[in-house]
């Protein structure tokens, strides 16, 4: 019979007092738990990529108006077919401009082909380390990246480029959580 034998005493001439713990209910409980968890299991996992729209809000009269120098922003130009152009701008002033050749790496998973740009990701990481303004873990602001695309560019290409822009990571907060260094937004024109 399924059970656990628990012996106590029995030496020195006294009668052994055995007791068997019945494990059948526990096995039933475990089988029920496993069945429930298997039936309710969610195996496919979707994720998301942030892209904040910078919509100007109403002025806040409580905040003192102090003229602040504009932050440096990284503009990623993807309209050319053979290259990407990374332009650091501070307001209207162009600080730096670099061209990155457009070498896509195709990843085939069954019927789905995903294009990735590892060279672009590496270059953006280097650029952020050299020119990024918000790198400290206690800094709550993120560096801004503006994506310039042609109106006919397919969404999957846009996602591939945004994926490359999100490659550089930085520490954030006291817990040193790793988050993307850039916050991506789209250019209207």
């Amino acid at each position: 019979m399924a059970g656990v034998n628990v012996e106590s005493g029995g030496k020195g001439g006294r009668r052994a007092v055995d007791s068997e713990i019945n494990m059948i209910p526990m096995i039933d409980l475990l089988v029920c738990c496993i069945s429930f968890l298997l039936i309710t299991a969610v195996w496919s996992h979707m994720s998301r990529m942030n892209a904040d729209a910078q919509v100007p809000g109403p002025p806040n009269p409580e905040k003192e108006l102090n003229p602040q120098p504009p932050d440096k922003m990284l503009h990623v130009e993807m309209r050319a077919e053979d290259k990407f152009t990374l332009i650091w701008k501070q307001g209207p002033t162009v600080v730096n401009s670099i061209d990155v050749p457009r070498h896509g790496v195709d990843i085939v998973e069954g019927a789905v082909t995903t294009t990735r740009y590892p060279d672009l990701a590496t270059k953006i990481t280097e650029e952020w380390k050299a020119n990024g303004s918000h790198r400290d873990a206690s800094d709550k602001k993120l560096d801004q990246a503006v994506l310039h695309t042609d109106n006919k560019t397919l969404f999957k290409e846009i996602i591939s480029v945004i994926d490359a822009i999100y490659a550089p990571k930085r520490d954030f907060g006291a817990a040193s959580k790793q988050i993307p260094a850039f916050n991506v937004t789209f250019s209207v024109n």
Partner: protein, 183 residues
């Protein structure tokens, strides 16, 4: 051969036959065999622990069947927010039709989608009516489920419409590519 007087017999006064057989060595093999279930219980416990760790209380995320999502590596976890699906020609908000993309593609320029704007605005007002009493500020988060073949013009139009309706924190829903080691 000499005849001897028979000696004492064990348990001959006990009337129960099965006791006599047992004590006298009846000769039958026992049909019951002990089964060690310890390893099976260990296996079940490990299975339960594994399934509990991978259990997701948020459940399945509704995915529009006409939308084929692109994949990316540098992603963050999903959140619970209004879902705007954009397939080849339709825009849907939580399953409700909210406009067509054909007008945008034909015009060839960025424009606001009025039905989408109105639906999102009413969702925002409903949120304020139900939760406006508390000190929470409106999160303004929405998730775009966009088919990978949709052109950028449509994506930007939907994005801009959502932003002007009070949802500036837009996220794109994507499939997950396993993270690669970077050295």
């Amino acid at each position: 051969m000499a005849i001897h007087e028979p000696g004492r017999r064990l348990m001959h006064l006990v009337p129960l036959k099965f006791v006599q057989k047992r004590v006298g060595g009846g000769g039958h093999r026992s049909v019951s065999a002990p089964l060690n279930l310890t390893s099976m219980i260990d296996f079940l416990v490990v299975m339960v622990v594994f399934l509990l760790m991978t259990f997701s209380a948020s459940g399945e995320i509704p995915l529009d069947k006409n939308v084929k999502l692109p994949k990316a590596e540098n992603t963050v976890d999903m959140v619970d927010a209004p879902m705007i699906a954009v397939n080849g020609s339709q825009v849907l908000v939580d399953g409700t039709a909210a406009g067509s993309t054909r007008a945008i593609e034909e015009a060839g320029r960025l424009q606001r989608i009025d039905e989408l704007f109105n639906i999102l605005k009413s969702k925002r007002e409903l949120w304020k009516a139900t939760q406006g009493g508390s000190n929470k500020s409106f999160p303004g988060v929405c998730i775009l489920q966009v088919d990978q073949m949709v052109p950028a013009l449509v994506v930007k139009s939907v994005f801009q419409t959502a932003a002007f309706a009070g949802y500036p924190n837009v996220s794109f829903m994507v499939g997950q590519i396993p993270k690669t080691e970077r050295h």
